[in-house]
């Protein structure tokens, strides 16, 4: 989607973009380059020196089955949370788009989760899912020990994923609804004239048309599953039990900041960064090149 760019000026664009570039360089690229350097050295925790280590830090994490466990867990987390959230949001948006009476009320409530801070939701869901408190924990009165995120890693992970998916509903819903409402009415009418039932029309006509939005959301959701998960995990499980809710970002934080292994954490950051940049790049090409509609 190339714009026939209209202004030519040697200085002005730099003045406009300069402040942001400067901030990005100072607060992003400078620290990142430092982390990059650490990834190839053994950095002393208190500063004061480091030794060149070549690819050792990378070989070390690639040999570590716990690291691969974290990678798989992150992938599962990203897919499960994203899938769950987008599915719920899309379903709600499709029905809200029918604009029946009273829909506005539903519409406004569906956006609410967007406003909630991940740690705040984490605290709330921790109470909801707490095995000793009276909500989900009440099942333990009927079948003792059936629900225990404090010791069971699967339970803990499920709890975090559900919370994450819930948080994403608002954002996904807004975008899906926006996309659905942008579909020209005539398409729907033509479909109706051809005798397609409402449900068929949803599946065959509307869904393909909102594909670009779906892809955009996929990127945003996956990114958020890497970033927002921090506040959630930190307030809900702190990575436990036995590290079974540690996803890549949280492990980087734990290994680097808590475990004082700056070099190992830096190597992990590089892997994560490459992974996400690669993913995004593919998605970007897809959204901007392949899927056109109007």
């Amino acid at each position: 989607m190339e714009r026939r760019a209209v202004y030519r000026n040697k200085v002005l664009p730099w003045l406009l973009i300069g402040p942001q570039l400067l901030l990005v360089l100072v607060f992003f690229y400078w620290p990142t380059s430092q982390a990059l350097y650490w990834a190839f050295t053994l950095e002393q925790p208190w500063g004061g020196g480091n030794l060149w280590a070549g690819l050792d830090n990378f070989l070390y994490i690639f040999r570590d089955d716990r690291y691969w466990g974290t990678v798989l867990r992150s992938a599962f987390y990203a897919l499960a949370a994203t899938g769950l959230s987008m599915l719920v949001a899309l379903t709600l948006a499709s029905f809200v788009d029918r604009a029946l009476k009273g829909t506005k009320l539903f519409q406004s409530v569906f956006i609410w989760p967007y406003a909630i801070a991940a740690p705040a939701a984490g605290v709330a869901f921790r109470f909801i899912f707490s095995p000793e408190a009276g909500l989900v924990g009440a099942v333990n009165d009927i079948w003792p020990g059936i629900w225990d995120p404090a010791t069971n890693g699967m339970h803990a992970l499920a709890m975090v994923i559900v919370c994450h998916a819930w948080l994403g509903i608002g954002y996904n819903f807004v975008f899906f609804l926006a996309a659905l409402q942008m579909i020209p009415r005539s398409i729907n009418e033509a479909g109706a004239m051809d005798g397609a039932r409402p449900f068929r029309r949803m599946l065959d006509l509307q869904l393909p048309l909102i594909a670009p939005t779906a892809f955009f959301l996929l990127i945003m959701n996956i990114i958020s599953s890497f970033t927002d998960s921090f506040g959630l995990i930190d307030t809900m499980t702190e990575g436990g039990p036995i590290g079974q809710t540690e996803v890549m970002v949280y492990k980087i934080y734990v290994d680097g900041f808590k475990g004082l292994d700056y070099s190992g954490a830096a190597a992990q950051s590089i892997v994560l960064m490459l992974l996400v940049i690669g993913l995004t790049f593919v998605q970007f090409k897809w959204v901007e090149r392949r899927v056109h509609y109007n």
């Binding site: 989607m1 760019a5 209209v6 202004y7 030519r8 000026n9 002005l12 664009p13 730099w14 406009l16 973009i17 402040p19 942001q20 570039l21 901030l23 990005v24 100072v26 992003f28 400078w30 982390a35 719920v88 709600l92 809200v96 029946l100 539903f106 409530v109 569906f110 956006i111 609410w112 967007y114 406003a115 909630i116 801070a117 705040a120 984490g122 605290v123 869901f125 921790r126 109470f127 909801i128 000793e132 909500l135 009440a138 819930w166 926006a178 942008m182 009415r185 109706a192 409402p198 990114i223 970033t227 506040g231 949280y250 980087i252 680097g256 700056y262 950051s269 996400v276 940049i277 995004t280």
Partner: protein, 305 residues
């Protein structure tokens, strides 16, 4: 809708109501728990009806987590970030979309990639930067021998130092540096037809006049949407403020206080106070989203039917 189908309408309502329950349950639980006494909240199973202790719990949470000054800090940071980001993002997106200069795509990617690497993973070096935001320039000066030169000529030792720890600037600037705003503005500017700019050019308007008189007014709804996103995003920041404010009493924000409110940090499992605190903390961004909703949604839709 085009035609009525009673069965499908019923299904629509059913799905929407289920969705409503899904979305509202956590809020409801927070409110209910926040209104109960310690005995009530500890009951298994818990009653899902509100009780009468809301005010007591709210004030207890307010006092325990020292939310008054923290609230003010959160507002200062959120508003600072919102204003800063809207301004910077509009400017840089304008440059990227409407100017033809060589480094345009590089600049876009330079900015865009910052979305990819969350703060959490580069926390230690970023902290060092916050302690002295001018460090990169110092290093540049040192590497090229400029500082040596200055010292030799004037006898002044160049040491650039700008500490951002425990300051509003430190809480705000790094958050302004991220790319979400630029990205959203770019998406919007891309939808502006070229003809509009061409026409403005024909009228003899300069680039900045086009920016001021055409683009800014056109993007008003987007700006409101962006403002909402930025406000919510910065209010909800967690790790960054946690890290750079060692002086929590004066520069702490409310979201940082959440962990201090979790039971088992303080003895009794008083989830009612925890939930009351969570309620206070989640309210401002929730109100912003609720009030801005119309513009928020429309700003993201960006085109009318």
């Amino acid at each position: 809708m085009i035609e009525r189908s009673p069965f499908f309408d019923a299904l629509t309502y059913a799905v929407m109501i289920i969705g409503l329950i899904l979305v509202v349950i956590p809020f409801w639980v927070v409110i209910v728990a926040a209104s109960q006494s310690l005995q009530e909240v500890s009951r298994v199973p818990i009653s899902l009806l509100p009780s009468d202790q809301l005010w007591a719990n709210l004030s207890e949470a307010w006092a325990r987590a020292d939310l008054g000054p923290k609230m003010l800090n959160s507002f200062i940071v959120a508003i600072g970030v919102t204003i800063g980001k809207i301004t910077l993002a509009a400017m840089s997106a304008f440059a990227i979309v409407f100017f033809n200069f060589k480094a345009r795509m590089i600049c876009f990617w330079l900015i865009f990639i910052t979305l990819m690497l969350p703060l959490e993973v580069r926390i230690v070096p970023t902290y060092a930067i916050a302690a002295n935001a001018l460090l990169p320039f110092q290093v540049i000066l040192d590497t090229f021998g400029i500082s040596w030169l200055v010292q030799a000529v004037s006898g002044i030792q160049v040491s650039l130092n700008w500490n951002l720890l425990n300051s509003y600037t430190g809480l705000i600037l790094p958050l302004v540096a991220t790319a979400t705003g630029t990205f959203l503005y770019r998406q919007f500017f891309m939808t502006i037809p070229d003809e509009l700019a061409e026409a403005s050019k024909m009228d003899g308007a300069s680039a900045m006049e086009f920016f001021r008189d055409v683009l800014i007014p056109l993007s008003r709804t987007n700006m409101l949407a962006l403002a909402t996103i930025m406000f919510v995003g910065s209010w909800n920041q967690y790790l960054w403020p946690l890290l750079i404010t060692t002086d929590r009493a004066n520069f702490g924000t409310v979201v940082m206080q959440l962990k201090a409110l979790i039971p088992a940090q303080n003895g009794t499992p008083d989830w009612n106070v925890t939930m009351a605190g969570a309620l206070i903390i989640m309210l401002p961004p929730l109100l912003v989203v609720a009030f801005m909703q119309r513009w928020f949604v429309r700003g993201l839709i960006s085109r009318d039917k």
